[in-house]
Amino acid sequence: MGGSEEVSSVDLKETELTLGLPGEKSRDSGSSIGVKRGFSDTLDLNLGSACSKGNEFDENEGDNRLKHPGAPGPSPPKAQLVGWPPVRASRKNAVKNSCKYVKVAVDGAPYLRKADLELYSSYQQLLKALEDMFSCFTIRNFFNDGKLLDPVNGSEYVPTYEDKDGDWMMVGDVPWKMFVESCKRIRLMKGSETVGLGTFT
């Protein structure tokens, strides 16, 4: 698995999504911000980020290819896998007082997803979750003017949302709690269309 892990992580690098702070290097530095890192260390499966070819599995590999994430040492924050653990949506809210589901659309993606904003406590967490959901598309890092491109068609995506007044705004402008309160739906827009957003305040 050692050999094929190299190959597939090279493939993955081009397509992996990150949301890093300005000036931060990509996953070479072992940064824990990378979306799939925690899990891809333990398993070479494409979990939805399927832009690269399917991985080969070396059947001779013993158990030592697997580093148990609970092993000694600080474990990287795990990427949240879609639908795992298998807990129904109604049950996720069992220990919370409320839930705030909003529909999430990505320009060009054929189907919508739903996100429960109450699950997150910051923009960072939300955007990481969105990256997981729509792993084929990159999301523009709004902290950083550097644009990330979708390797398939070279377009960038910007997170926007529709607020209570029906206006489309850029995600990230208002404090998190205020955003959760006022957000009705989210749309990851193609970069070119975001000109003029939020300018009429």
Partner: protein, 601 residues
């Protein structure tokens, strides 16, 4: 419509000695009467296969129908075969849609079924739907077209609003049951309940626990008061503490009650009232809800506990010491759903006190947190398995497991029929030995000879599938995640599990070779789901073309599979047997491989 005799008379040329034995000239009416006692669907299916005469009689007699996959058959075919159905149950989306793995808009629309039934079965009384998209228009049809409509159960459905419910309430004069069991409803407020006419008194069962807003209080109170046969009432969390004590007083005959919020500050008077109300419900057997329960108020339940058979505490954020106090009163408990706040210590008490326990489900309070927030380990499950001789059904979320524990569970509880274990960390090995959990699960399938449902988790190689092939003869449903090493695993399952009906797999390194090698097996199953595995498009095409009675549906968010090389894995694959071929309502991200065309529809 008039019942004409469907049975063709015996050909006169046959000599009596050449006819089948005397039952072929058995009077129809007698045969019909006999058949009316047969309840099992599979038995009725067998009856219809005996001979043409029996097939015909059975067509006319069958009153209840269960359709396990709405796309396996079509409304016209059902209507052509069965002449007079009174009760229909239909399932739609694959089970993994519960965990957001099936994209929105996939399908499973109820309307075409209901419209067809409205025309063909005006005497239809019961409709039960699971994981289907039900529109308000569909509900309005039900409300208007079935004179004697009695039972509506919408389990994990979506697509409708309280407006549809208003139509049901206003028009279904004979309604007995309205059960919205975990459906997603567009909730425009609680006024719909006022649509039940004042003259309506027949309600027996109402489950609105999935609704968000509070039902209009006065209307609900009057409804409960005037329905003496109300046995089951499940409210939602918006119903305040004081309100439901009033409801309980009006319905002391309740057998099943789901509370709303169980925790706000109560005055002494209100507390006493609540206490009295619960004591008054002497026949209460099943209790659920208890949202945000405040432990101080749990004692109002103590008088009921010894009568309780089913307790759903999975929305109650009560911790172990209070749970222990409550459970120690519940000697007759048969079914417990609880959060992992119960901890190992609580499960030990459960094992000591509740010797009649048949079903246990332990849900995670913090499913997305890696570190354990409570002390719930494999030991809790071992205690219950060892201590509860009647335990048959287990669903258990935990963060560590060992082969040793699984082997102990298997040996002490060979009567297990359903075993679903979810170790929260994918690919988590035996925490004692760091080995895969193959042997542990192997012991489960070896000892539990009547196991019909199994969900695996943790670190697993192909060996666990060898065990499954060898031992899991009665297995009907198997769920896998992050398991296995090669296609061999899938081959073992398909070749070995004679009774397998449903197989659902996610994130396993399994390719399509085993599917192709076991293609015929797939026709004996209801469905197969594989997502984030290694089945490639070429294999899907081959399978789809080779097996005309299988619908091979490929789902891919990246666009048409033709836009990628054939050896790329597909994102999601759903294969199911069908006698009606590819469906016509697939959304744009689903492609069904057809035997006719080189490329999918």
């Amino acid at each position: 419509m008039e019942a004409e005799s469907p049975v063709s008379p015996l050909p006169k040329s046959l000599k009596p000695s050449e006819t089948a034995s005397s039952w072929s000239s058995f009077p129809e009416e007698v045969l019909e009467h006999v058949l009316s006692f047969i309840e099992s669907d599979s038995d009725l299916n067998s009856v219809s296969l005996v001979c043409k005469a029996w097939y015909e009689i059975e067509r006319w007699c069958r009153r209840r129908l269960f359709i396990g996959n709405c796309y396996a058959v079509s409304p016209p075919i059902v209507i052509r075969r069965f002449r007079d159905l009174r009760s229909v149950a239909i399932k739609g989306k694959p089970h993994f849609s519960d965990f957001s793995l099936v994209p929105e808009g996939w399908g499973a629309h109820a309307y075409p079924w209901i419209a067809a039934f409205a025309a063909a079965y005006p005497a239809l009384e019961e409709i039960r739907l699971k994981r289907m998209v039900v529109s308000d228009e569909a509900l309005e049809l039900i409300a208007k077209k079935f004179r004697n409509f009695r039972v509506l159960v919408l389990c994990s459905c979506e697509g409708f609003s309280t407006n549809g419910l208003a139509a049901i309430a206003a028009n279904c004069r004979n309604l007995r049951t309205l059960d919205l069991c975990e459906s997603e409803v567009d909730d425009f407020g609680g006024n719909w309940i006022s649509n039940f006419p004042d003259s309506y008194t027949l309600l027996e069962s109402l489950n609105v626990s999935c609704l968000i807003s509070d039902l209009r209080f006065s209307a609900r109170e009057r409804l409960v008061s005037r329905c003496p046969n109300l046995k089951s009432l499940r409210l939602n969390r918006s119903v305040s503490f004081e309100k439901f004590s009033i409801l309980l007083e009006k319905a002391p005959q309740l057998v099943d009650f789901g509370t709303g919020l169980f925790g706000t500050d109560l005055s002494n008077e209100a507390y006493a009232k609540l206490s009295r109300a619960f004591v008054g419900c002497k026949g209460l057997k099943s209790l659920s809800g208890l949202h945000d329960a405040i432990p101080t108020y749990l004692p109002v339940l103590y008088p009921l506990c010894s009568g309780l058979m089913s307790l759903n505490l999975s929305y109650a954020t009560i911790h172990s010491p209070d749970l222990i106090k409550l459970l120690s009163h519940c000697q007759n408990l048969q079914c417990l759903w609880v959060l992992d706040y119960i901890e190992d210590s609580g499960l030990e008490v459960l094992a000591e006190c509740c010797k009649h326990l048949r079903e246990l489900r332990v849900f995670p309070s913090e499913p997305y947190v890696q570190e354990p927030n409570v002390c719930l380990t494999e030991e809790g499950l071992v205690s219950v398995a060892s201590g509860c001789p009647k335990l048959q059904s287990v669903l258990y979320f935990c963060r560590q497991m060992s082969n040793e524990a699984l082997i102990t569970i298997a040996k002490s509880r060979p009567n297990l029929t359903r075993f679903r274990l979810c170790i929260i960390d994918p690919q988590c090995p035996d925490y004692l030995t760091n080995q895969p959990l193959d042997d542990g699960f192997g012991a489960i399938v070896e000892h539990c000879k009547n196991l019909t449902r199994l969900s695996l988790s943790g670190l697993l190689t192909d060996r666990v599938f060898e065990y499954i092939r060898k031992y899991a003869k009665k297995l009907e449903m198997l769920s896998l995640a992050f398991a296995g090493k090669s296609d061999l695993g899938l081959h073992y399952i398909l070749a070995g599990c004679k009774n397998l009906r449903k197989l659902e797999i996610r994130d396993c390194p399994l390719g399509g070779r085993a599917l192709l090698a076991n293609a015929a097996k797939l026709e004996t199953m209801r469905s197969l789901w594989m997502s984030s595995c290694l089945v490639n498009y070429e294999e899907c095409k081959f399978l789809g073309r080779k097996m005309p009675r299988l619908n091979v549906e490929v789902m891919d968010e990246r666009g048409h599979p033709d836009s990628r090389p054939d050896d790329y894995p597909v994102e999601k694959l759903y294969i199911y047997r069908s006698i009606v071929g590819p469906r016509s309502d697939s959304p744009e991200f689903v492609w069904t491989i057809s035997e006719d065309s080189g490329s999918p529809l």
